[in-house]
């Protein structure tokens, strides 16, 4: 009678019992565990291996950690693993096991007990996720801090020189060392110097806005073509002075709902850079809407980049160098583009042929509701523009 009871207890105990060989072959299993894996005893004993009733990667983990531990200390406690049924339902378990060794000391059999821990596991996953989130936030903060340091140093460096020269001219004029007629020709030079400084400060402002004001600018869909047209208007003077042709090849139907000023910032910096490194020919902007992203390509007929430079460029570590007309830059544009791309989960690709030109593509992820082709959006038979 007592034997019957103990038999019953073993089979239907509120936990799983399992014995297996070091190669994973199952030799004993109780009804409770059989229920979790939705199998009959006959299908399992001597037939199935541990890896067939556990989640992917478990047997790898056993090979790397569990068997060495069982061999060295004879037991393992509180291993968290998932038992998986024939119809792919997972039961999260805690697994305790002890090794039965033969005289030579090698493992003959492993006896294990498994407790289902569904609720506790959920809680653990929550904690794990919270920990991961906290770590990601800390990492993000550290990264922003680093970018801020770089920007502050660029800023100090790049605003000082023009302000210094403007200041000198004003002083000379104030001291009467430059007469009104002499000082006049310097005005244009000073305005140019200050223009560059103002653009730099504007860029910084738009970056700090997106960084510190998390109140998102209402993301009203805008036309990519119109953004590019605005950019061209801003950079018209630069292109004209180098006799370059700016081509806006974007279909007017391509719309995107995103932070317009960021997208404009990115395009403006790419076009500005293209103009800077192009002697003749021009700069073309095009855009393509894909199923999960929109790509904007700025290509030029400029001096191109060597493979080394290209690598640095795409990784955001290329520092500024003078353009074909000795145009100066701060190197800030690329840093900020990379910052924005990180925020938008976007990425940058570039192709370049020295002497022939460069083509830079920015890929911004979006859904069919945030970027689309307005003409075809009304025609549901064809959703995306190719």
């Amino acid at each position: 009678m007592s034997q019957l009871n103990s038999k019953y207890d073993f089979e239907n105990a509120p936990c799983g019992f399992l014995s297996f060989h070091p190669d994973g072959t199952i030799t004993q299993i109780n009804q409770t565990l059989l229920k979790w894996i939705n199998c009959n005893k006959e299908e399992v004993i001597g037939q199935k291996k541990l890896e067939e009733i556990t989640a992917k990667g478990t047997s790898l983990y056993f090979q790397m950690f569990v068997y060495p531990l069982l061999k060295m200390q004879g037991y393992i406690n509180e291993l968290s693993l998932d038992i998986v049924s024939s119809d792919n339902v997972a039961t999260s378990c805690l697994f305790n096991a002890s090794a039965i060794k033969n005289e030579g000391g090698s493992i003959q059999q492993i006896h294990a007990i498994l407790f289902a821990i569904a609720d506790r596991k959920k809680y653990e996953v929550e904690i794990l996720n919270a920990k991961k989130t906290a770590e990601a936030v800390a990492e993000h903060k550290e990264r922003i801090l680093q970018v801020q340091r770089r920007i502050v140093s660029i800023l100090g460096h790049d605003t000082r020189a023009p302000l210094f020269s403007v200041n000198q001219i004003i002083k000379l004029a104030a001291d009467g060392k430059l007469g009104p007629a002499e000082v006049f020709p310097y005005f244009e030079l000073m305005a140019n110097q200050l223009d560059a400084t103002l653009i730099l400060l504007n860029d910084l402002l738009s970056w700090s806005n997106t960084l510190f004001n998390n109140t998102k600018e209402a993301e009203i869909p805008f036309s990519m073509q119109s953004v590019t047209a605005d950019v061209f208007e801003l950079l018209h003077g630069n292109a004209v002075s180098k006799k370059l042709l700016l081509k806006n090849k974007i279909d007017p139907a391509v719309m995107m709902a995103a932070n317009r000023s960021i997208v404009m910032f990115i395009i403006r910096n790419l076009v500005n850079n293209a103009i800077k490194f192009t002697k003749e020919g021009g700069v073309t902007v095009s855009a393509t809407v894909m199923s999960d992203a929109v790509s904007i390509t700025v290509s030029d007929t400029g001096v191109g980049m060597l493979p080394d430079q290209l690598k640095k460029y795409t990784s955001g570590s290329l520092s500024s160098s003078p353009g074909t007309e000795n145009e100066k830059g701060s190197g800030m544009g690329l840093i900020l583009i990379n910052e924005f791309l990180l925020q938008l989960n976007g990425r940058l690709q570039a192709k370049s042929f020295p002497g022939k030109g460069t083509s830079v593509t920015v890929i911004l992820p979006c859904s069919s509701s945030t970027c689309f082709s307005s003409v075809e959006a009304s025609d549901s038979s064809q959703k995306y523009l190719n």
Binding site: P22, G57, L60, Q63, P68
Partner: protein, 276 residues
């Protein structure tokens, strides 16, 4: 003696020749206890823990240095320099086989023979090559590692780490044999699984032996055969042992295989190999 402490180097035995045992991913020099003991009579036996594993100095761990197998190979070379070791026998388990190969490429004069136990130059399947694993296995492994910090707790870590001379204390801590800082373990796993050392094999000048187990999902039969085909002066020995850890599951067979290989006259005796 900085390296000795950093890598928790243990030296036993009195032989003229030196044999170094390098542990694989996951545990520490403890895994070599049984096999290494058999060599103490005839060799100077050196055991150590890689930085980040076992009772090594965790302060010396540097994510960047140890983001490639080269960083780990440097640990072995540092030990060779520290103890003036030349022409040693280097036995590596699992990923340590390829770490040993890298060390021997960098400093051939330090090593006379290499023994690869359950080696794999690349763990994934790739065109004609069968590494045995696919991405889902590895994802599952990482998930299990994330939910099992076996024996690890930052509270008890100093106890485990600081008491090499008091094993009874370590043994009181369940699962502590393989206790590893989870962040380091994760990084070591990444280096292990995402390294591809196939291109190094043909360059190896030091002769080597592969011990190949049956039914080893981490180093299937094909990987041993691949190493044999592409590595100069490599011999391949098949063990009856199954699984990935023959030094634990079949220590006798492992010892015998290594010993009979060491007794064999060197395949290649080329004095030009000795740089110093």
């Amino acid at each position: 003696m900085k390296v000795a402490k950093r890598n928790n180097v243990t030296i036993r035995g009195t032989g003229k020749e030196t044999i170094i045992f390098a542990h694989g991913f996951g545990c520490s020099q403890n895994t070599w206890r049984e096999v290494a003991a058999a060599f103490e009579k005839d060799y100077r036996v050196i055991l150590f823990d890689y930085v980040g594993a076992g009772q090594s100095d965790l302060q010396a761990y540097d994510s960047k240095k140890y983001s490639t197998l080269d960083g780990y190979a440097q640990d072995i070379l540092d030990i060779c320099y520290e103890f003036g070791i030349k022409q040693a026998i280097l036995v590596g388990h699992s990923v340590s086989s390829m770490i040993a190969a890298i060390a021997a490429l960098k400093e051939p004069s330090c090593f006379k023979k290499l023994v690869f136990v359950s080696p794999s130059p690349y763990y994934f399947n790739d065109a004609d090559y069968s590494g045995g694993l696919n991405k889902r296995d590895i994802d599952g492994l990482f998930e299990m590692m994330d939910s099992n910090y076996l024996g690890w707790s930052s509270m008890i870590a100093p106890l485990i780490m600081g008491n090499a001379d008091r094993p009874e204390l370590s043994e009181a801590l369940a699962n502590s044999f393989c206790a590893t800082d989870p962040t380091i373990a994760r990084e070591f796993a990444k280096v292990t699984f995402y390294s591809d050392t196939r291109s190094y094999l043909p360059l190896l000048e030091v002769e080597s032996l592969t011990l190949q187990c049956a039914e080893d999902m981490l180093a299937p039969l094909q990987t041993g055969a691949y190493i044999k085909e592409y590595t100069p002066y490599n011999s391949l020995a098949h063990l009856n042992a199954t699984g990935h850890c023959p030094h634990l599951s079949a220590p006798e067979e492992t010892i015998n295989a290594i010993m009979s290989y060491l007794k064999r006259t060197p395949i290649r005796q080329d004095p030009s190999l000795c740089r110093n």
